[in-house]
Symmetry: C2
Subunit: 346 residues, 2 copies
C-alpha cells in the first residue's frame, strides 16, 4: 500500500506538470507552426510544390492523404544531395587509392589506366572507358572484406578534401536538401538514398551526413563472397559488378530493396528519369523534382540543358528538361530557388 | 482570445483525463509487467535463452546493452515461421499455377516436368532436378509484371488450403515464433525475414501474417526489367535467377539489404547455418536458434538429425546438430519447447 500511494503521489505530480505543459505549450507550438521548415529555400514554385505536397499527403482530411507506411521518398545522391562536379566523389576515392597502392604495383607506371592516374594525365583520364573504370574499381574496391572496405572509406572521407572548396567532401552537401529530408521525416516519411554510386561506399557515411541508416541506402554493388578466414566468416568483395542502380536500374532497385513505390523522388540527371517516371506512375499525390545546376558562382553550372556546358558527370539534357516540363516534374534552379547552397554558406 | 481560452479549457479537460489515466493505469501496467511475453513456450532453456538475451540487450545498465538502431533480428521463413513440410508453400503455388495454365499449354501434357505435375506423378515430382524447377519457375513466376505477380500470389494465398490441415497456408504459422517477433519489436528490435523463398512471393502477405513490411523481407529473386507498356512503366519478371538467398547467400543478402549484422538469428536447416555463423561472429551478446521438427503429432517430424526421417525440404542434419552444440546455438524442440504450435491450437 505504501508503494501504491507513493506511486499515486508521484503520478499526480506528473499530471500537474502535464496540465501546465498542456496549457502553456500550445502557444509555443502555435508559434512553432509558423516556423519555416525550409529556410534555405527562396519562396517560389519549387518550395511551394514541396509544402503543398507535404500538406496534402499528411493531412488526414485531405483527399490526397497517404498513410505513414506508404510515405516513401527517394533521393539520388551525386548532384542531388551533394556536389558531383567535376568528378564523382567516389571516383576521387578510387584515384586516391590508386596513388596510395602504387608503390605495391610498380607495373602500374607502364599500364593504363593506372599510368594516366599516376602521371595526372587529365586528358587521358577524361577519356577513360567503362573498361578502364572497371579495372580501377577492381584494383581499389575489391579483394578485401566488406568491413575492411568500410574502414577505408571512413578513413578517406574523414580526411580527403575537395580541391575548389578545400573542405571535406561531406561538407559539400546541399543545405536545402538536408532541410527537405528532415522535414519529410518529421512528417512521417521514410527517406531513402537511391544512388548510382556504390551502396557500401555511401553507407559508410550516410547516417552521419544525411541521418539515413544503411538499410535505407540503395545503390550499385559488386558481388560479395562468403568465406571463412581463420575460422571467422567474412564477405569478400569480388571484382565483378552485381547490380547497377542507375537509369532503369533505379526503378528495379527501388522495387528490390524497398518493395514499395515512392510517392516523392528527387534527382538531377538522365540517370534519375526512370525513378521519377516510376514514382509518378503510382496513384494519388506525387512529387517529382530535378535539381538543375545553374549556379557557377556558388557551386557549378552544367547541363547541357539551357545552353550550359556539357559535363562528364550527371547530365541534364534538353530532352530531360522537355520531359520534365511535359510530365510536370518540378525543376529546382540552384541559382534562383536556393538561398543557401552549403551548410557553411552564410 | 476566444479561441485561446477555448483551447485552454479543452486542454484542461484533456489534462483531467490524463490525471485519471495516470492514477488508474499504473495498477494495470503493474499487472502487465508480470505478463508472460511468450505464453506459448514451455519453461525451459529455449524460452530462458530468449528472455535472458532480450533483458541483457535492452537494459541500459547491462554490459551487454545494444542501442535500438542495432537491434536487428533475422528469421528464416519456411520451417522457422511456418510449415514447410512436405513441400514448400511456394512450390505448391507453382504446381497449382501449372494446373491453371495447362489449358493454354496443350504441349505440357507431353513435356516434363509439366507432364508429371499434370498427371500428379508424385514419384517423378520427388525427383525434379534444379533444371526442372527452373522450368516451372519460368512458366509460373515470370513473363508478367511485378504487380500482376503480387496479385496472383495474394489471390492464391487467400484461397488455397494445406491438405493435411484443410486450412489456408497462412494459418500454419508458429504461434511461439509470432510471440518472439512481437516481443522483440516491443523491445525496440527490427525483425526481418531472410528467406530462401521468393522475396516478392513472401512480401505479398508478410505484413498481414507477420506484421513485417515489404522492406524487411529479404529473399531470393529473379531479374526484373524496366519497360514501358502503353506508356506506363512496368517491371517485367524475367525467367532468370538474380539472387539466391540461401546458405552463404543469407549472409550476403543480410549485408546487401540491411547493411548491419543481426544480433539474433532464427533458422531450422542447413540453409540457415551461415546466417547464424555470420550473426555470431559479431561482438557482444548474440542469440542463435534453430527450430527442430520433432513433433509428428502436432506438426511433422523430420531431420535426419536424431534419427528422424529424411526430408526434401529444410534438412536438419546430424552435422548441423553437432555444429549447434559446439557453437552454443539453441535448438528449439517443437515437441518439448512449444506449448502450442499454431494460433488455432487450443
Amino acid at each position: 500500500m505504501k508503494r501504491a500511494s507513493t506511486r499515486i503521489r508521484w503520478n499526480l505530480k506528473v499530471a500537474t506538470l502535464l496540465v501546465a505543459l498542456l496549457v502553456v505549450l500550445p502557444a509555443a507550438a502555435h508559434g512553432q507552426a509558423q516556423r519555416d521548415p525550409l529556410p534555405s529555400w527562396n519562396n517560389g514554385p519549387a518550395k511551394q510544390a514541396i509544402l503543398t505536397f507535404v500538406r496534402d499527403t499528411t493531412d488526414p482530411h485531405s483527399s490526397k492523404y497517404v498513410e505513414p507506411d506508404d510515405r516513401i521518398a527517394t533521393f539520388d545522391q551525386d548532384g542531388t544531395l551533394w556536389t558531383e562536379y567535376p568528378l564523382y566523389t567516389q571516383a576521387r576515392f578510387a584515384l586516391d587509392r590508386v596513388e596510395k597502392l602504387a608503390p605495391q604495383h610498380p607495373e602500374w607506371r607502364r599500364q593504363q589506366p593506372f599510368k594516366a592516374i599516376l602521371g595526372d594525365n587529365r586528358e587521358a583520364m577524361s577519356k577513360f572507358t567503362e573498361g578502364d573504370w572497371m579495372q580501377i574499381l577492381a584494383a581499389t574496391h575489391a579483394g578485401m572484406s566488406t568491413e575492411a572496405f568500410e574502414g577505408l572509406v571512413r578513413q578517406w572521407i574523414a580526411t580527403a578534401k575537395a580541391p575548389r572548396f578545400n573542405r571535406p567532401y561531406t561538407d559539400l552537401v546541399y543545405q536545402p536538401m538536408l532541410e527537405v529530408m528532415r522535414y519529410l521525416r518529421e512528417k512521417g516519411f521514410k527517406t531513402y538514398i537511391v544512388t548510382g554510386g556504390g551502396q557500401e561506399f555511401v553507407r559508410a557515411y550516410s547516417e552521419r551526413v544525411y541521418a539515413i541508416p544503411p538499410e535505407q541506402v540503395v545503390g550499385s554493388s559488386i558481388v560479395t563472397r562468403y568465406q571463412l578466414v581463420d575460422g571467422k566468416p567474412e564477405l569478400i568483395r569480388e571484382p565483378k559488378v552485381f547490380f547497377v542502380d542507375d537509369g532503369p536500374g533505379k526503378a528495379v532497385g527501388i522495387n528490390l530493396f524497398i518493395g514499395k513505390r515512392p510517392i516523392a523522388a528527387f534527382g538531377n540527371s538522365g540517370g534519375d528519369a526512370q525513378m521519377l517516371q516510376w514514382t509518378q506512375a503510382g496513384k494519388g499525390a506525387r512529387l517529382m523534382m530535378l535539381v538543375y545546376h545553374d549556379d557557377a558562382k556558388r557551386e557549378y553550372a552544367y547541363g547541357p540543358a539551357g545552353g550550359l556546358p556539357e559535363t562528364q558527370v550527371g547530365t541534364f539534357s534538353d530532352a530531360l528538361m522537355a520531359q520534365a516540363k511535359k510530365q510536370g516534374w518540378v525543376v529546382i534552379s540552384m541559382k534562383n530557388d536556393w538561398k543557401r547552397i552549403f551548410p557553411f554558406d552564410k
